[in-house]
């Protein structure tokens, strides 16, 4: 049977259809009140997506999950146990592929007092562990995956979604925050084992509150380094940021100008760390603290 739900995840509303009970269970568990029944929703729907069975009798033998939006199928099917993770990645794809009214940067975004830091980083750099930690230590989570930047400004719009934890960080974060809400595990995905963690009440309660980007920090977890920080010049920061901007080429001239603007209005750093406390105090004191001087 196909289950249908509306997911109100500001600034977008998704209509989700799924054959997989696990998708609905995880969705309701992680998004809470933001998931509603279609008959209780009368507003505008931005995207209709689905996570369905594979066709044929394969379903009975080795069922798979297929993600679709507007009849587009961006990924090959995954194992049934990965269906919810697939929905999360699918929603990322939908927004990254369509929402060109924002410059979208592949990064985590966290803020304090309306001042935001973006953390663009390749997989394996410890970005999501960092996000989970900061979001439970006085920082407001705007996103774990993508910064929605209003073109030609430093304004970032929250897109508050679960934090995607991988492999070793799963048990680590679970041990730090045993009372938080986690999804079931998706084993052996292309990113390894994956668990999603609910974003937390504060982040959700303030999910329409924009912030100004004052810092661009490229994090790299290194178990042998306590804490090292390197200033980044604007040209290097520009290149590194552009590499992480999904739709910067689509926006063409405006994309280039927007990345320049962002770099000019923020300070950029590369950090290597194994101490999250130290990183936190650097961010709060140096990055946010210096912001008013600019």
């Amino acid at each position: 049977m196909a289950h249908k739900r509306i997911l109100l995840c500001s600034p977008f509303a998704f209509h989700i259809t799924s054959h997989h009970q696990s998708v609905i269970d995880n969705l309701e568990n992680l998004y809470g009140k933001r998931v509603i029944q279609p008959e209780n929703y009368d507003g505008f729907i931005d995207y209709r997506v689905s996570v369905t069975h594979s066709g044929g009798i394969r379903r009975l033998i080795n069922d798979q999950a297929r993600f679709q939006c507007d009849k587009m199928e961006p990924f090959k099917p995954l194992n049934r146990s990965q269906a919810f993770a697939m929905l999360e990645w699918g929603l990322n794809w939908v927004v990254a592929a369509h929402e060109v009214s924002h410059l979208i940067i592949h990064s985590a975004v966290l803020a304090k007092d309306g001042k935001a830091v973006v953390f663009p980083a390749p997989p394996g750099s410890g970005k999501s562990t960092l996000t989970a930690y900061l979001s439970r230590n006085g920082w407001r989570l705007l996103s774990d995956e993508m910064a929605l930047i209003t073109p030609l400004t430093s304004t970032v719009t929250p897109f508050v979604r679960p934090v995607c934890l991988k492999n070793d960080s799963i048990s680590l974060v679970k041990s730090w925050y045993p009372d938080d809400v986690f999804s079931t595990i998706a084993k052996d995905t292309h990113k390894g084992d994956v668990v999603h963690m609910a974003p937390g009440d504060v982040a959700v309660a303030r999910d329409t509150e924009q912030a100004e980007v004052v810092g661009i920090v490229f994090p790299k977890y290194n178990k042998d380094v306590f804490f090292d920080v390197y200033d980044m010049d604007q040209a290097t920061a520009y290149t590194a940021l552009a590499e992480n901007a999904f739709n910067y080429t689509v926006l063409q001239e405006q994309g280039v100008k927007s990345v320049i603007k962002l770099v000019e209005n923020a300070s950029s750093f590369e950090v290597e760390y194994n101490s999250l406390e130290e990183l936190d105090s650097f961010l709060t004191e140096e990055v946010l603290g210096a912001a008013h001087v600019k």
């Binding site: 066709g55 009798i57 394969r58 379903r59 798979q64 297929r66 507007d70 090959k76 060109v100 009214s101």
Partner: protein
């Protein structure tokens, strides 16, 4: 719920949308985005100076679509120059077809056009030379299974699609407009000689030639997945044409065939898109359509409508299947068709049993 005619009228009579409720707008956005026509709809509305009354959400999605279409436009212009440089000297002619050509000519049909690929026509005898030249420039043949590869090479009017290794653009290299196997492929040298024109240093077909090709592509075919978009192409191509256009079109039909396809196109544009035809064209069409089977005309009228589960008429999947079967019959002699259908059926059954992606080659992880 919207009817498919209401969606068509959103294009032909944009003022009809001014009474839409938010729900109807929502459905229109989702249907048009699915049909890859949201940018086109928005630009037409903008040209009429009527985009002001769009609800905010609708406006945002329209602008997104406009930006994406604008990007595609610049990609097409850039790739065209690149192709000219890469293979221009290898071939007596390099002619841009369909979407890319509409964009280059900046004619109506280029409005908000999005593409899945760039279509190019070169003579058959230079295909392999051109293909290896393109390979040097980073264009690689897409990986196909053995059967599909054979299908293209032996029977089709194009070679398997090529994709650029870094930019991802997909290129369809044609040597004719209709599959060789159909026995109806046209004398392409002569066709190009009478229909070609040069715009900004690039060769394309003239307006009648474009309409002729687009009509063949739509009605002498077995794929109706982009049929509604193709209908709007035809509508924009025919809109505001003078008598000369129709004379040229009918002259092409008597020289190269495919009058039936052109007549059906004009008939549907007249019936459903409110296109006014010159009197002699009108009577010509009435006579020709009168001789066609009524169910066939009706079938083609239905499968070229917008198709979506949010519309009253739904996805029309059964009719699509019939139209695809019709297309196969047109394109292949019976013995080949039996073989091809047998192969496809076998593969379809395998997919039914083992899932849609049985033949999909897994990604290296």
């Amino acid at each position: 719920m919207l009817s498919s005619q209401q969606v068509i009228e959103a294009f032909t009579q944009p003022e009809s949308t001014s009474s839409f409720t938010l729900h109807q707008w929502n459905d229109l956005v989702l249907v048009l985005r699915h049909e890859k026509l949201l940018a086109r709809f928005y630009l037409l509305l903008k040209n009429e100076g009527m985009s002001g009354f769009l609800p905010d959400n609708v406006q945002r999605h329209c602008k997104n679509a406009e930006t994406l279409a604008e990007k595609q436009r610049s990609v097409v212009l850039c790739e065209t120059q690149g192709l000219k440089q890469a293979i221009g000297n290898e071939t007596p002619y390099l002619l841009m077809l369909k979407g890319a050509a509409y964009t280059i000519c900046e004619n109506n049909a280029g409005l908000g056009r999005v593409y899945s690929d760039i279509d190019v026509l070169v003579p058959k005898n230079v295909i392999s030379k051109v293909e290896s030249r393109l390979a040097i420039q980073g264009w690689l043949s897409k990986e196909l299974d053995n059967y599909d590869e054979k299908y293209y090479r032996q029977w089709a009017h194009e070679i398997p699609p090529m994709q650029h290794g870094t930019r991802g653009t997909v290129l369809d290299l044609h040597h004719n407009m209709v599959p060789v196997i159909s026995g109806k492929s046209i004398d392409i040298e002569r066709f190009v000689a009478v229909t070609q024109r040069e715009v900004n240093g690039v060769l394309t077909l003239n307006d009648s030639g474009m309409f002729f090709h687009s009509a063949i592509h739509l009605f002498f075919n077995d794929d109706y997945s982009s049929a509604f978009r193709d209908m709007t192409d035809l509508w924009l191509l025919v809109k505001s044409q003078d008598e000369e256009f129709y004379h040229m079109l009918f002259a092409l039909c008597s020289d190269f065939g495919f009058k039936k396809e052109c007549v059906i196109a004009l008939y549907l544009l007249q019936m459903r898109y409110g296109v006014t035809l010159p009197e002699w064209v009108d009577s010509e069409i009435k006579e020709s359509v009168g001789k066609m089977s009524a169910w066939e005309v009706k079938l083609l009228s239905r499968v070229t409508e917008p198709k979506h589960s949010l519309l009253l008429s739904g996805e029309r999947s059964a009719l699509n299947t019939i139209a695809e079967a019709r297309g196969h019959f047109l394109k292949m002699p019976l013995n080949i068709l039996v073989y091809h259908t047998g192969m496809k059926l076998l593969r379809a059954m395998t997919k039914m049993v083992f899932g849609k992606h049985f033949f999909t080659k897994p990604t290296q992880q």
